[in-house]
């Protein structure tokens, strides 16, 4: 069998000593964690290893000896190293020796109780200890959770190094009986800023939790639960977005430490996303309020609403004439046209009533953009919804009229053929009608049929307008979703410290020499950007199309009201 030795590249220039690490017998591989230098007392080494084993739950033991001789090989040293094998009995005992500055080391194994005395091939794999310790191995995205553990043998190696962090805490300046060499042996790394932030974050979190509990208490108070207000809150997307952000703040400000990598990354992603959102919102706000742009916006709002209303009036005049050369039923045409024209007239009057207050309202509403760019976009979407409310009303009128007509037509068509809808059995049954029933039914059927084109045309025009508005709102919500769910911290981590997010490893074959073991360099293969987004996406209250294309077309044909975007948490109707 082939023996694999994972050697940390930081120990390549260490002085002679013994190797400590973990022996994984199922894979026939030895993961070397550090080198213990002479002089040492074997009993103290065993004690130290026992303590480390207790704390880290990793079975660390003495695996072999390491000799780095700057001069010619000394015979006495090699005998001494073999004798060490009897003191720290470990099967197999690995002996690695390096001569001078040579890249090619010789590696041999001593097996006392070997069943097959044949020569084992040795593969020497160098790894960067710091990167492997900090990295998090991601299982392939399409495997189920429980398969991931036994699928990857490499995760055992990553696990071993990551959990042995306490071993790397002693550096060579410590006054202890054991002298180790590992990646941190030149001095433990720490950052003052990080430590200060950690200390400052505890009271900040407590303050934030207190404020948030106050805020959620106010939101849940009885005063805001009355029917008109609660209906309004549920319809405005701004309130949903604010609630969503409140939830995020609660996640960040909780005092519990993150249990595992996923939770930690989630918290970090939410924090960075909130920060960027607020920064962009403040940028937008400063741009809007400079040179009084918001005043200009308010001034152009009323003319735009007027313009939209005028266009609608022109459209209705066109429909009341002979639209696209089609001949409408004059009477019905005039009735519908005048009804909708009166509606527009009412709407314009309301807008003009509001016009002196628009600037002030817009000025104060614009201030809320400092809560984040997503809130500003949601406000924009709500303003569009409010301004095009008359289009929504027209759509509902047209749809209801058309729907009634279609139902009437289908039921009278059944009567025309002598059939009836059996409500009990939910099917069409034959039925014998009286003569006068048949006469009236046929008459009504004819009337409805010939009035169908007019109603259908009005319905078509207003449905198209409504769909246009829905598409614009949908696009804005898509953008808000994107900002909400993008894991910015993970993406920046993948850009700057790509070894932290590992999809796997890659091996590079180093220079070889005959007779020496195979030398490989193990590097971390980072996760692709698409993989990062897929793994660490933040969950949102996303809106996605509720109906498939087929059911949407069916609803349009029958005249049922369509609400194309479904929000998570909506009850199915």
């Amino acid at each position: 069998m082939v023996l694999k030795v994972f050697f940390p590249s930081c120990c390549s220039s260490a002085d002679s000593g013994i190797l400590i690490g973990r022996w994984i017998s199922e894979q026939n591989s030895a993961v070397i964690l550090a080198v213990v230098h002479f002089p040492f007392i074997p009993v103290q080494v065993k004690q130290y290893l026992g303590e480390v084993q207790r704390v880290t739950k990793v079975s660390v033991s003495v695996l072999g000896s390491w000799s780095n001789s700057k001069q010619e090989k000394e015979e006495s040293l090699s005998e001494f190293l073999e004798d060490l094998g009897t003191i720290f009995c470990h099967e197999p005992w690995i002996q690695i020796s390096k001569e001078g500055d040579s890249k090619f080391w010789s590696c041999s194994i001593l097996q006392k109780h070997s069943k097959n005395p044949q020569e084992e091939e040795i593969i020497l794999v160098y790894y960067d200890q710091r990167k492997v310790m900090l990295s998090h191995l991601h299982p392939p995205l399409d495997t189920a959770g429980q398969r991931a553990e036994d699928a990857s043998k490499l995760s055992a190696i990553f696990d071993t190094v990551a959990r042995s962090q306490v071993l790397f805490m002693t550096d060579r300046y410590d006054e202890g009986p054991i002298k180790l060499t590992h990646w941190q042996s030149d001095g433990v790394e720490a950052s003052i800023i990080v430590e200060l932030l950690k200390q400052a974050s505890v009271p900040a979190c407590m303050l934030l939790t207190f404020l948030l509990s106050l805020l959620s208490g106010i939101c849940r108070s009885r005063g805001l639960k009355f029917w008109p207000l609660s209906f309004l809150w549920s319809k405005l997307s701004t309130c949903e977005q604010l609630g969503h952000r409140l939830q995020h703040l609660q996640v960040i400000s909780s005092n519990k430490k993150a249990q595992n990598q996923n939770q930690l990354m989630r918290k970090a992603n939410i924090f960075v996303s909130l920060l960027i959102d607020v920064a962009l919102g403040i940028l937008l706000m400063s741009w809007l309020y400079r040179k009084n742009r918001i005043g200009h916006l308010a001034d152009t709002l009323i003319p735009v609403a007027d313009h939209v209303a005028e266009e609608l009036q022109d459209l209705l005049q066109w429909l009341m004439g002979a639209p696209a050369g089609l001949k409408m039923n004059r009477a019905l045409d005039q009735v519908l046209g005048r009804f909708f024209l009166y509606h527009i007239h009412l709407w314009i009057s309301y807008i003009h009533l509001l016009s002196p207050f628009i600037e002030m309202i817009l000025w104060y509403v614009g201030l809320s953009a400092c809560l984040g760019l997503t809130v500003a976009l949601c406000i924009l979407s709500d303003i569009i919804a409010l301004l095009t409310f008359h289009i929504y009303c027209f759509y509902v009128y047209g749809a209801r009229l058309y729907c009634l007509k279609i139902y009437g037509l289908s039921s009278l068509w059944r009567l025309f053929r002598g059939k009836k809808w059996n409500v009990l059995r939910q099917r069409v049954d034959s039925c014998s009608y009286d003569l006068d029933q048949l006469f009236i039914g046929t008459l009504l059927f004819t009337i409805l049929l010939f009035l169908l084109p007019t109603t259908a045309l009005y319905y078509l025009v207003f449905t198209l307008l409504r769909l246009l508005v829905v598409i614009v709102q949908g696009l804005i919500h898509l953008l808000v979703d994107l900002i909400d769910s993008l894991p910015l911290y993970s993406l920046i981590l993948r850009l700057c410290r790509s070894y932290r997010l590992a999809a796997g490893v890659k091996f590079r074959v180093l220079e070889q020499q005959d007779g020496k073991p195979l030398r490989l360099l193990m590097q971390i293969n980072p996760l692709s950007y698409g993989g990062v987004v897929q793994t660490y996406r933040l969950p949102t209250y996303s809106c996605y199309p509720r109906d498939s294309w087929a059911s949407l077309c069916k609803k349009l044909f029958l005249g049922e009201l369509i609400y194309p975007w479904k929000h998570k948490g909506d009850k199915q109707n």
Partner: protein, 188 residues
């Protein structure tokens, strides 16, 4: 220990197979496709610029020319970095795994490492593509729940598409190493 032989790909372009034996249980097989020719690059660039100049002569807007230069540069960068694969290599390390690398013309390398425990076998498969029957080498991955079933098929050398003679060489090299794991005593 490194030998290079010339073959033809499925579409007729000349490719080179390089075999290196690093040790008894480690082999590297690399298939190199033809490099980007200066001829085709100049031809594509001149065609785009002629078209842009014709458009400029029609509409007298100099933005067309700068847009053409920008598009050419962007297109070249995207082609070199994401599309043109120079070399595909297979590194088989017995008892560790199989590593598949694709090296792009811009120097980017995309690597996948498959552990030996997941590899069931390396086989040559036949596929019917449009009107042709092509052969391709692939790695069969084992299903952890069912030792007899295959959970995934990973095709190799997809952009250089070597023909059967080249594939047979690669197949023989791989099988020599894969057999070692069957003869060696399993320890668990």
């Amino acid at each position: 220990m490194a030998e290079e032989r010339r073959f033809l790909s499925a579409s007729g372009v000349p490719i080179a197979l390089r075999r290196r034996q690093h040790s008894a249980s480690c082999r590297e097989l690399a298939v190199r496709g033809p490099r980007l020719q200066l001829r085709s690059l100049s031809a594509a660039t001149s065609a785009v610029w002629l078209a842009a100049y014709g458009l400029f002569a029609l509409c007298e807007n100099s933005m067309v020319l700068s847009a053409a230069i920008f598009i050419t540069l962007l297109g070249l960068i995207i082609y070199l970095h994401f599309v043109k694969i120079d070399q595909e290599s297979l590194l088989v390390i017995g008892s560790l795994g199989i590593q598949v690398t694709s090296a792009y013309a811009s120097g980017k390398e995309s690597t996948t490492f498959i552990e030996m425990g997941q590899v069931k076998d390396v086989v040559i498969n036949e596929a019917i593509h449009m009107q042709k029957v092509i052969y391709y080498l692939c790695i069969l991955l084992q299903d952890p729940e069912d030792p007899q079933a295959v959970s995934e098929v990973v095709p190799l050398f997809q952009s250089s598409k070597p023909r059967l003679d080249c594939l047979i060489e690669v197949y023989k090299s791989c099988q020599e190493i894969l057999e070692q794991r069957k003869t060696a005593p399993q320890s668990s």
